[in-house]
């Protein structure tokens, strides 16, 4: 897997930095690699931002302007929109939305509304298509076609637009190429590889859930990608915002609301329309372990390395290819890729993946301690931040475990260690072995949907239900207490205000749905976000979406689950197990 990592918003940009750091020497006088910089796992990336000021005030000037061919680069999402754009004037006059807004004040509904209008308003569509040469959307199409697409394999297969070419020719001008032969000699990989192997075969979004920019762009860009290439693998890594106030004094409630709306929208997009999986991390856990954001961002990078490592174990080569990985994420016990692809078409909701990461010096060689380091000891549900779980969860509730491991271990032993801890059967554990380096060995375990099936789990500190219950309750409270603040943002026109009111407060709106989600969480139902909601458009019909819901309120299952926990607790009290 060779992802194109797309950092969105302030946090996304900082999280992306370590992924794009140059691992090659910096010779100052000449760069023999040109724009082909050496990164871990050969990833490429771009930073998308809406605030021009944020981009310009970067102290370290890490990112250059991608339009000028600089790499690593940023792209201002509204860079394609002129000040006097007729589309924007129309949008401002009718709805009060501004395409050139500088940041969205941690409001997820702003971009959500904005993008819906582009899908619904025929006049706007016509204007936009006329002004932006066939683009359906002035922002998401621009970011996809100009920013991301040129870095992916799609750009070599399909037709490249004129703009693509200007960007890439600007890029190649930057460093004078050596004679081709010498280049091949310096980089043996060029001899037997074409352009394609250097480009990315999937997308990984990085963003903070709890901002306005980061959260708002993931779905629209995914839609733009899907139009081009319906099964291109798209993953997202969302950082749940930490507790307390953040730096420009945005209250916890407001950011929780942004996060909840973002999570809701990402997790209720049916398969084939949105992302293929959401990797969730909890900023609160990271904040307790690390002092500042840059240390946290460094940790995120370290934790993702086992997934990005391209040195597969001999014999295990093909399996971490992006398409295969995508199928495994959606997998519903299908026997072959064809069946899996069929299953994906069945309008499922994307899975949540909880990353658990642990590293130890490699002379340790102890698989059990490695797996326990990542997943926590058996029975320890609430050891927040003390083990490798990067989001609160109970590994025993996971549907699947994807294990990315670096070091020398036997396949059966890895599976056994994970089976022991999670109780999953062998077929539900997928292991990806990488060679890593010989300094340390580490493991990243992605647990698929580790929640549900137990009544009252939201009361146990350290479960996923507990964390979600907390932020959903916070956001409901925020919605109830801040009607004025939510509805009279900036220059919303009466039309927009009306729709916003309906979205937030009408029965069947987001507040109602969130109350339902709380109930679902309390009763152990899975999933707990059930119906796609829209601000301007028709929301999904209840009956349609509810078909998808896999209710695991199977009584028998619950009783066994509860009694097992109870038994364990008793045995532990008596000191029979530890």
């Amino acid at each position: 897997m060779k992802p194109c990592i797309v950092g969105i918003g302030g946090a996304g940009g900082s999280m992306l930095k370590p992924f794009l750091q140059n691992l090659d020497l910096n010779l100052m006088i000449h760069d023999f690699a040109g724009n082909d910089r050496l990164t871990y796992g050969d990833v490429k990336g771009i930073w998308l931002e809406s605030q021009t000021a944020d981009v310009e005030k970067q102290k370290d000037h890490y990112y250059g302007n991608s339009i000028k061919g600089q790499y690593p680069g940023y792209l201002i999402c509204h860079g394609g929109v002129n000040e006097d754009s007729s589309t924007n004037t129309f949008l401002k006059n009718k709805y009060g939305f501004d395409l050139k807004a500088q940041g969205y004040d941690r409001r997820a509904e702003y971009l959500k509304g904005l993008f819906e209008i582009f899908e619904l308003d025929e006049n706007l569509k016509r204007l936009c298509s006329h002004e932006f040469g066939g683009y359906d959307n002035a922002l998401s199409d621009y970011m996809w076609k100009i920013g991301i697409r040129p870095l992916t394999i799609i750009s070599t297969g399909g037709s490249t637009s004129v703009k693509d070419e200007t960007v890439s020719s600007a890029k190649s001008k930057r460093s004078k190429p050596l004679p081709e032969l010498l280049r091949c000699f310096l980089k043996p990989r060029n001899l037997n590889s074409d352009q394609n192997t250097k480009r990315c075969d999937c997308i990984l979004f990085l963003a903070s859930l709890g901002g306005g920019t980061g959260t708002g762009f993931i779905n629209p860009i995914s839609s733009a990608v899907r139009l081009d290439e319906p099964i291109f693998p798209i993953f997202a890594l969302g950082m749940l915002t930490e507790k307390g106030e953040d730096s420009p004094q945005t209250s916890e409630g407001q950011r929780d609301l942004a996060a909840v709306i973002a999570l809701y929208d990402l997790l209720t997009k049916e398969s084939g329309k949105g992302i293929d999986g959401l990797i969730l991390m909890d900023g609160q856990i990271l904040k307790e372990r690390f002092e500042n954001y840059s240390a946290m961002d460094g940790m995120i990078y370290e934790a993702m390395k086992p997934l990005l490592d391209i040195r597969n174990y001999p014999g295990d080569e093909q399996q971490d290819e992006a398409q295969a990985f995508r199928r495994v994420l959606w997998d519903r016990d299908a026997k072959n890729p064809m069946e899996q692809e069929d299953a994906i078409q069945k309008r499922l909701f994307p899975p949540v993946l909880i990353p658990c990461y642990y590293t130890q010096p490699d002379w340790n060689g102890d698989l059990k301690s490695l797996v326990e380091g990542a997943l926590g000891k058996k029975g320890h549900v609430s050891s927040l931040g003390l083990d490798g779980r990067l989001f609160p969860c109970d590994p025993e509730k996971a549907e699947r475990a994807l294990v990315f491991i670096r070091g020398f271990f036997e396949l059966t032993e890895i599976k056994k260690a994970v089976m022991d801890r999670t109780g999953l059967s062998e077929g539900k554990i997928k292991v990806y072995r990488k060679l890593g380096d010989s300094r340390s060995e580490d493991v990243l375990i992605l647990l698929r949907n580790p929640y549900g099936g137990e009544i009252g789990a939201h009361k146990d500190k350290g479960t996923l239900e507990w964390r979600f219950h907390d932020i959903i309750a916070e956001s409901i409270e925020y919605i109830e207490k801040n009607e004025m603040n939510i509805l009279s943002y900036h220059s919303y026109k009466p039309l927009t205000k009306e729709y916003m009111w309906k979205y937030f407060y009408q029965s069947g709106g987001i507040k109602d749905q969130l109350y339902k989600s709380l109930k679902y969480l309390e009763s152990g139902r899975k999933p707990f976000f059930c119906r796609e909601l829209r601000i301007f458009g028709e929301s999904a019909k209840l009956s349609q979406a509810e078909e998808q819901i896999m209710v695991s309120t199977n009584l028998e299952e619950q009783i066994t689950c509860i009694s097992r926990r109870e038994a364990e607790r008793l045995l532990m009290e008596k000191g029979i197990i530890h």
Binding site: L23, D24, L25, L186, Y313, P314, D362
Partner: protein, 198 residues
């Protein structure tokens, strides 16, 4: 028989360092091979192992690394064979028409780079691609060409003042040379050391 000259002893020391590098490389392969074949569950051929272990270190590093190995050879030849002081029968001045030509020194350097240098440059960086080279090590490797150029300058100076002999220059030339050798072999030696800890 008189005891061998002290320069010869140092030459032997340098050879020992080189042999250490080779032993590390062989040892590393044996260890890695045994780890992998124990755990892989399938028969792993040499070719597969090579492919699996291979990683890129970047064009800039490769350029510096290849240049350094070539320079190392030049520096070595200059230091030992420039003057008849060490190997009296075998030296630069004994080939009169090169020594007297205005580009003689350059021609000698070119010959050294072209023949064995290009061979070394082909194989050693390839071998190096099976090892983890940390960024610190990469930055250290920038020192190698600098050290080697100092060494070469010392040798040239010795050659131009010959028959006067200045042991300070020779010693400096040697120290910089062996330091550069150690830096260039560091990935191999460190890689093996890491492997041995398990």
């Amino acid at each position: 028989m008189s005891p061998p000259r002290y320069e010869i002893l140092l030459l032997i020391a340098m050879l020992i360092v080189l042999i250490l590098g080779i032993i590390s490389h062989v040892g590393y392969w044996i260890r890695i091979n045994s780890h992998i074949s124990k755990t892989a569950g399938i028969d792993v051929g040499k070719q597969d192992l090579r492919k699996a272990l291979h990683m890129h270190h970047g064009s800039n590093f490769n350029t510096i690394y290849i240049t350094s190995w070539s320079l190392l050879l030049v520096a070595f030849i200059y230091l030992y064979f420039m003057t008849p002081q060490i190997f009296s029968g075998l030296n630069y001045f004994s080939i009169p028409n090169i020594a007297s030509g205005s580009f003689g020194l350059a021609a000698l350097g070119a010959a050294v780079i072209l023949i064995p240098g290009s061979l070394a440059a082909l194989f050693i960086p390839r071998a190096c691609s099976y090892y983890t080279v940390t960024r610190r090590m990469k930055r250290m490797s920038l020192l190698a060409p600098v050290l080697l150029i100092i060494s070469i300058f010392c040798s040239i100076n010795l050659g131009s003042i010959y028959p006067t002999i200045d042991s300070l220059y020779w010693n400096l030339g040697f120290v910089t040379l062996i330091l550069a050798l150690v830096i260039l072999l560091a990935p191999f030696i460190m890689g093996f050391a890491e492997e041995m800890r398990m």
